[in-house]
Symmetry: C2
Subunit: 190 residues, 2 copies
C-alpha cells in the first residue's frame, strides 16, 4: 500500500461527536505537513446530520500540491462507532483499508475490515477511554506508514492537552503494537 | 452585508501557530451547523509554510449545500499576527470585511481594515492572552451576524477546555462589545 500512497492518500476518520475525530484529523495532517514535510488538507463538512451523533474528519496527504481537498475515494476509513461504521464503511475504495473499533462496532458486515478493539485498548492501556482517537491514529500509522511514527508522535504530543502528553504517547504506542499484531496475523505468523 | 451573506459566506482566520485559529474555525463551523441549522465546511491546508509561523483556518457557511469547500474570494478575513496580516489581508474581496488585531499588527497598510485591540482585550478582560481567538470570534459574529450570538456562545462553551467555559464566555462578550463600539463609531455616533 505504501507505494500507491506516495501520490495522494485520502483518509476519513469517523466516530461519535466527542470522540475527538476532528482533533485526530488535525494531528494527522500536522504530522504530515509540519513533521514529515508533505502537504496536507484537513476538512470537516457539517450538514443537517451535524446535530446527530456521527462526526467525521477528512485528511488528504500528498507529496506535492493538493488540487482537490475533498475525499473522492477513501484509501483509508476508520470508524469508532456503529453509526459511523454504518455511514462511512462503504466509502472505502476497493482494495482500501477499513479500520474498525471492534469494541464499539458490533455489526460488521464487511469481511475485509481490520478489526481492532480500539476502545478497549484505550481504556486498559491508558486508563482513559477518551484516548481511543490516539490509539486509532497509532493503528492507522502502523498499518499504512502514511506518516512516520516520529511525526505522528510529535504531532500528538504538540496537540495533547497539557498534562496528558504521556498518556497520549502510551495510547499511540498501543495503536502501533496493535497494528503489528494485525500484520503478523495477516502474514500467517504466530 | 447580512443579505449577501445569506447565500454563502467565506471566512479566513489567520494567526500564529498556537493562537488557536484552527479551533476558532471549528467553533464557528459548529455554531453554524449544529446550533444555527446551516451547512458549514471547515478546512486547514498545510503546505511548506506549515513549518513557519502563520496558521490559517477557513470556514464556508451557507444556507444550503456547499459545492466547493475552498475559500475562493474571502468575505471576511481575520488576522491576529503581522505575518498573518502580510500574507492574508490581501485575500479579502472588494467590499469584504478585514478584521485586524491592532495589538499585534503594527503595520496595517489597508485603510479599510477594522482595527480592534483583540489581544489587549483578551488579556485585560479575561486575564489570559490565549483567549484572543475567542475575542476574535465575538468581533466577527458581532460585526457580521454570520451566525447567531446564541449559536457561537453554545459552540464556544462546548469546545472550551473544561474549567475555561466562563473565561471564554467573557472573551466572547468582550468581542461582541468591541463590535458594538466599532459599529457605533462607523455610523458617526458617540
Amino acid at each position: 500500500m505504501s507505494e500507491a500512497m506516495a501520490a495522494r492518500t485520502e483518509i476519513r476518520l469517523a466516530g461519535e461527536g466527542g470522540q475527538g475525530m476532528i482533533l485526530a484529523g488535525i494531528i494527522l495532517a500536522e504530522a504530515a505537513a509540519i513533521y514529515d514535510g508533505k502537504m496536507a488538507v484537513q476538512t470537516q463538512s457539517y450538514g443537517p446530520e451535524a446535530r446527530g451523533g456521527a462526526s467525521k474528519s477528512e485528511v488528504v496527504i500528498a507529496a506535492g500540491e493538493i488540487d482537490h481537498p475533498e475525499v473522492l475515494a477513501a484509501d483509508v476509513v476508520v470508524t469508532l462507532s456503529q453509526e459511523a461504521f454504518d455511514k462511512y464503511a462503504g466509502s472505502v475504495k476497493p482494495g482500501g483499508l477499513l479500520i474498525v473499533d471492534s469494541d464499539a462496532v458490533h455489526s460488521i458486515h464487511m469481511s475485509e475490515a481490520v478489526k481492532v478493539p480500539i476502545g478497549w485498548l484505550a481504556l486498559h492501556k491508558t486508563g482513559k477511554a477518551i484516548t481511543a482517537n490516539t490509539v486509532a491514529l497509532g493503528v492507522l500509522v502502523g498499518l499504512t506508514g502514511v506518516v512516520s511514527r516520529q511525526a505522528i508522535e510529535k504531532a500528538v504530543t504538540a496537540r495533547a492537552p497539557r498534562g496528558t502528553e504521556e498518556m497520549n504517547r502510551m495510547a499511540l504506542e498501543a495503536g502501533f503494537e496493535a497494528a503489528e499484531l494485525v500484520q503478523r496475523k495477516a502474514v500467517g505468523g504466530v
